[in-house]
Amino acid sequence: MSARRVFTRPARLAAIAPYLWMLLFFMVPFGFVLKISLSQTAIAQPPYLPLFDLSQGLAAIKDAAAMLSLDNFRLLASDNLYVLSYFRSLVVAVISTSILLVIGYPIAYGMARLPARWQPFAMVLVIIPFWTSFLIRIYAWINILQHDGLLNKMLLALHLVSTPVVWLSTDSAMYLGIVYSYLPFMILPLYATLALMDPALLEAAADLGAPSWRAFWLITFPLSLPGVGAGILLCFIPIVGEFVTPDLLAGSNALMVGQTLWLEFFTNKDWPVASAAAVVLLILLIPPLLLYDRLQRRQLEGGR
């Protein structure tokens, strides 16, 4: 016990470098996002008016404080484009996450029921696509979904349709792409909890006469809830801010917030509005992020 005590000191020292790194490259940048979101757009390089310049003393800070403006946020709230894109992001995230849960659960359940020898193999099979680039996987779908792509060719050959169907630039293509990209994120945490279940519980239920669907609802599903929660959060949070998939697969008449932010930043060069959009997105995501943080900590540190 005392030996363990002694060890905590070098371990704490080990944490210093990554601690400082993350403070500088993860926490401090949020300060700048907040600051720029309160400043005014300017045609300059960088394209915003400087807010504080500490070298000019207290008076300058007072001037700067007077210049602080919530204009960018007012713009976000008053312009339908932004409000709708936040709304659309949430809707897309809720729908995709539900589809992911419905598709991912049976797969994870099937994996957990495989003979023990095969399970690591099945897990590697699910992980490999996760290691393959998002961009490549979306691109693979463009190959299939385009006007004279494989899907239309197959449908035409089977006489299911008489003219090629438009798949690209539709919401269905976007949902397909998102579900495809995030499926491993849903399967793996579900599998992790299902694989740990004690089969004796189900045997006991069967011995007591419960039909298997009832045993599933009363035992398996409730016990897998931590995995369900982790899977939902792992998918929901990044999907809200998704950019690549909607940009390449969905049409351009409705944007998700990741796309609006990208557009403001790269096309309109309006950094303050882009920053304000990021601040609002972050605020929306704080509750699920906190939940996720708690789950992750419990899982990795045994509820310390």
Binding site: F25, G110, T132, I136, L202, L300
Partner: protein, 271 residues
């Protein structure tokens, strides 16, 4: 031991088969079409290496690929180092000031939308007046990927038997020495896996790189993205196939390596 195994119903088999088919079919189709000799992506014109030759003659694409490999190897190495230190701090540091903040800072980037991370890092670099290019992308990728390394190594550290280390200390090792000689070899496979995960994440990243790069350092995903926006090009199929081959190769090496070390570990375990 293994949870629910033994009763595999037809429904289980079907959902597994369909799920895996869904995950792999698009990738397999992409790989097959990369060997298509026809210029039209959807018309099969026989097997050919033509698009690979085209890729190797495309200077801009090759330069982007080399830049990506450089960014990925440097950032993965930095991330492996920092991530391992972070994992040690988290799992062995017990309580210290700001521990909650520390773990929060390490877990949040795993799910944080990339547009937020990218934008905030860019604003940092602009505020610090750093010229954007190789080092800014590398630092950005290190920040994201060190968190993945930390989680992978931390979960491995959690399963290492601490009594081994305590035994070494009882025999007169200093704590640090006990860690380096006893525990470090045991977590080495996890560090290697973390390095590879960091490498592939960096190789894949489009959004954060787009925000943090400068005109002189275009990475491969940025290049691919601008081509894809203009439409499907067979050359892209070839590049994607090469990337998939590289990543698959790394995964095979990693699983072989972990098999080697784990079988060694198992033979040592009964002691």
């Amino acid at each position: 031991m293994a949870g629910l195994s033994r009763r595999l119903s037809p429904f289980n088999v079907a959902s597994l088969a369909l799920g895996l088919a869904f995950l792999y079919l698009p990738i397999v189709i992409l790989v097959i079409y990369s060997f298509n000799s026809s210029r039209l992506v959807t018309v099969w014109g026989g097997w050919s290496m033509r698009w690979y030759v085209e890729f190797f003659n495309d200077r801009a694409m090759i330069e982007a690929a080399l830049m990506s490999l450089k960014v990925a190897s440097v950032s993965a190495t930095l991330a492996a180092l920092l991530g391992t230190l972070a994992a040690i701090g988290l799992s062995r540091g017990d309580r210290f000031n700001g521990r909650t903040l520390f773990s929060g800072m390490l877990y949040a980037p795993l799910v944080m939308p990339e547009v937020i991370t990218g934008l905030s890092l860019l604003l940092l670099f602009v505020a610090l007046n750093v010229e954007r290019g190789f080092w800014t992308v590398t630092a950005a990728h290190t920040t994201l990927t060190l968190c993945f390394v930390a989680v992978v190594v931390q979960s491995r550290l959690g399963s290492v038997d601490r009594s081994l280390e305590e035994a070494a200390m009882d025999l007169g090792c200093s704590p640090a020495r006990a860690f380096v000689t006893v525990t470090l070899p045991l977590i080495l496979p996890a560090i290697a896996a973390g390095w590879m995960l960091a490498f592939t994440l960096s190789l894949d990243d489009l959004v954060i790189a787009s925000f943090t790069t400068g005109p002189g350092s275009v990475t491969l995903p940025i290049r691919i993205y601008s081509e894809v926006r203009l439409g499907v090009k067979p050359e892209i199929n070839a590049i994607c196939t090469l990337i998939i081959a590289l990543i698959a190769g790394l995964i095979v090496i990693a699983s072989l390596a972990s098999k080697l070390t784990s079988s060694r570990g198992e033979s040592a375990a009964p002691l």
